[in-house]
């Protein structure tokens, strides 16, 4: 009876080992010195190394791609604290640099891996070996990465004005509101410029709408060329623009506005065989105590812009308060 029993047990054990061998998950056993003791078919197939070739070899000698310091840090926690450690592909795409399981149709060059490190042989409370479990998560990772790229692109598109590449009105106003709160909170100086193309209707009527679009694009290009990286520029309406100059007084903003005004005045727009010139009028409002929200800030800049229009156009005005 006992022999039957043990042979049954042996068969069971054998079947179980067969399952582990064929499991499509990487299994590696390491000793306290990080020498490889065991590994399954998955590891053999993907690395191309037979178990006898790697047995008692230092893990880091066989897989030079492993960041030794990082891995030791994780594994030492498992050895010393007798807890599991998990790492995700978001931390490091892989532990072992294996080829993508789908080398032809898969878009990833390598296999993304999630890894679990478990304590083994801890019967006396001392962890003498650890097990590494390697999961292939390439599909999940690739999907996540592609989704993020698409979302980022959608976000960019939803914020951008297509013709000019500047921020659109909605997003720009959001930025203005943020800058208003920031500048108020930290009591910093900040200026807003609003401007538009003089007699834009005339440009459209005389040269046609596509030429008008060329002028709108030309204005945006001039704005982008003259602004600093930290400034926030948007297309506010048809031929209206707005720009927030961070950490800038009205006086400094005026220098910028004049430079922009001259730049546009001197530029020539070419559309097909038509060439023409045009001008812009600008209004500046520095953030002051009297302004209590970003809408009022815009009203102030708009008021200054109106003054420029009244004053004969192609000029810059600064808001002087109510």
């Amino acid at each position: 009876m006992t022999t039957d029993n043990s042979s049954d047990n042996f068969k069971e054990f054998h079947s179980f080992m067969g399952m582990l061998q064929n499991l499509d998950v990487g299994l590696v056993v390491l000793d306290r010195e990080y020498n490889i003791q065991l590994w399954n078919n998955f590891m053999e197939s993907h690395s191309g190394l037979h178990p006898y070739e790697v047995r008692d070899q230092l893990l880091f000698d066989i897989f030079t791609e492993i960041n030794e310091e990082w891995f030791r840090h994780k594994a030492e926690c498992v050895f010393q604290l007798n807890t599991r450690a998990f790492t995700t592909w978001e931390q490091r795409p892989y532990l072992f640099k294996f080829k993508n399981y789908r080398p032809i149709t898969g878009s990833a060059e390598f296999m993304y891996q999630n890894v679990t490190i478990i304590p083994l042989d801890s019967s006396v409370g001392v962890v003498e070996r650890i097990g590494i479990i390697v999961y292939d998560v390439t599909d999940v990772a690739v999907n996540r990465i592609e989704l993020k790229a698409v979302n980022d692109e959608l976000k960019r598109l939803s914020r951008t004005d297509k013709l000019t590449g500047l921020f659109n009105r909605g997003y720009w106003e959001e930025c203005l509101s943020k800058e208003f709160k920031r500048a108020k909170r930290y009591e910093q100086v900040s200026s807003l410029i609003m401007f538009d193309i003089d007699h834009f209707k005339h440009v459209n009527d005389q040269y046609g709408h596509p030429a008008g679009d060329a002028a709108i694009k030309n204005t945006a290009d001039a704005l982008i060329m003259n602004m600093r990286e930290t400034d926030v520029a948007g297309r506010y309406g048809g031929e209206e623009y707005a720009i927030v100059l961070i950490n800038t007084s009205a006086e400094q903003a005026k220098i910028f506005a004049e430079r922009l005004r001259k730049h546009i005045e001197e530029s020539v727009v070419h559309y097909q065989d038509i060439s023409f010139q045009y001008t812009v009028s600008l209004g500046i409002a520095e953030l002051s105590d009297g302004i209590s929200n970003h809408e009022e800030w815009m009203e102030a800049a708009d008021h200054a812009l109106y003054q420029s229009k009244e004053g004969g156009r192609n000029c810059v005005s600064v808001y002087k308060g109510k």
């Binding site: 310091e69 990082w70 926690c77 807890t83 599991r84 998990f86």
Partner: protein, 206 residues
Amino acid sequence: MNQTVTVSITEDQRDCYQEISNVAMGQAADLLARLLDVKVILPIPVVNLIEVNELRMALSGIENTESVSGVCQGFIGNGISGEALLIFNDTSFADISSLLKYGGITDSSLELELLMDVANILIGACLRGVGEQLDVGFSQGHPVVLGQHVNLTDLIKAKNYRWTKTLAIEINYKIEGYDINCDLLLLFTEDAIGVLNEKVNYLLED
């Protein structure tokens, strides 16, 4: 068809959950202290039976407006299932990076490494602590990064709540001498509460 089951816990049961959490959290804190070589201030765990959509309220240790990062990990054993959530206040990272023993590694992903390290230890040890006391061995799923540098509401928004009630155990860890604030939340599903109550009643009988 959805069967409406009224789940509840008595005061005695609540005290018992709190005691179990106390022991488990102490074990976890001890490991964290050994990993980082610091003194961990032990809080009093908060046990609550809440509606899942009130999850936000269970995170009393984290301020609403702050930017946070979080990891969650599912667990299951003996018919008891749930999720562990670890949420870090982002201001903690500056302080905790000084505690790290990574030496030469100065990746931008350092914060993620830290988040995972602390999650591994706190979640693993807490679950083991709870499991030992209730005589349940928990299997843990792979941890998932919920989000980094997002506001709390975005982090824990779930679109599809299949459970209306959850048993939530909140443990707010602080580290002495550092501006580090992290919230560990153990959430048990509605159908696990019955099993848990039975186990706890057994303990209460002694």
